[in-house]
Amino acid sequence: MADVEAPLTILYFAWLRERTGTAQESVTPPAGTATVGELIAWLEQRSPGYASAFANRRTVRCAVNQEFADPATRIGPGDEVAFFPPVTGG
């Protein structure tokens, strides 16, 4: 899939949820947004809270459609993209 043309569902967990002030939202990024990394670049410009959430990229993990992903992972219309810190279960 080339560009995101339909809304994406974005989920935030743990301190990414706290910093963005959002648990879940539906967004339509600009045309040409084709990867998770490009989505982050757009999201972090939305507000100081978003900028803070994504400030240290090394501590941000992601999943696309409930599968672990990385900044190079391609995204398409209707995808569910989740952002979270490294997991700490067990």
Binding site: Q66, E80, P85, P86, V87, T88, G89, G90
Partner: protein, 145 residues
């Protein structure tokens, strides 16, 4: 044969043990790991990614089943607010012999810690709250398998 549950309520280790082994005579060894909330934190809240958690745990269990000759396996992981001393996670594995049971149990908890979408927020006696940071030792423990 595996049982996976992500739940808020506590688990009954004896009942899970009995369910794992009921009617079987082919099990020679059973591995068991229980993770608990350890002081001095007074409590912690576990958050997870509901749509992904069970699938992620199932992938980890499938990997264990590929690597060892497991006869049965149980993974129960709790979420929500848990106080010091409460159980967090249960791993049970049954195999024909002790080594696969013990190794698969260690593998499962190591991978659960680094590959299942849970996040812990700790509460201290002073009333402070902080997110638990992932530890390099946990990554190293997961990478040794």
């Amino acid at each position: 044969m595996s049982r996976i549950s992500v739940q808020t309520e506590n688990f009954d280790i004896g009942a899970e043990f009995a369910a794992l082994t009921a009617g079987r005579t082919d099990i020679g060894g059973i591995g068991c790991f229980v993770g608990a909330v350890r002081g001095p934190v007074t409590a912690m809240t576990l958050e997870h990614y509901p749509a992904m958690t069970e699938r992620a745990i199932a992938c980890i269990v499938e990997e264990a089943e590929r690597r060892w000759s497991l006869l049965a396996c149980t993974v129960i992981h709790r979420y929500g607010r848990l106080c010091a001393g409460e159980n967090i996670v249960l791993v049970l594995t049954a195999a024909p012999h002790r080594q696969p049971a013990l190794d698969a149990t260690a593998f499962l908890i190591d991978w659960l810690k680094t590959k299942a979408p849970f996040w812990k927020k700790e509460e201290s006696a002073s009333g402070g709250e902080s997110w638990v940071e992932a530890r390099l030792e946990d990554d190293a423990a997961a990478a040794r398998w």
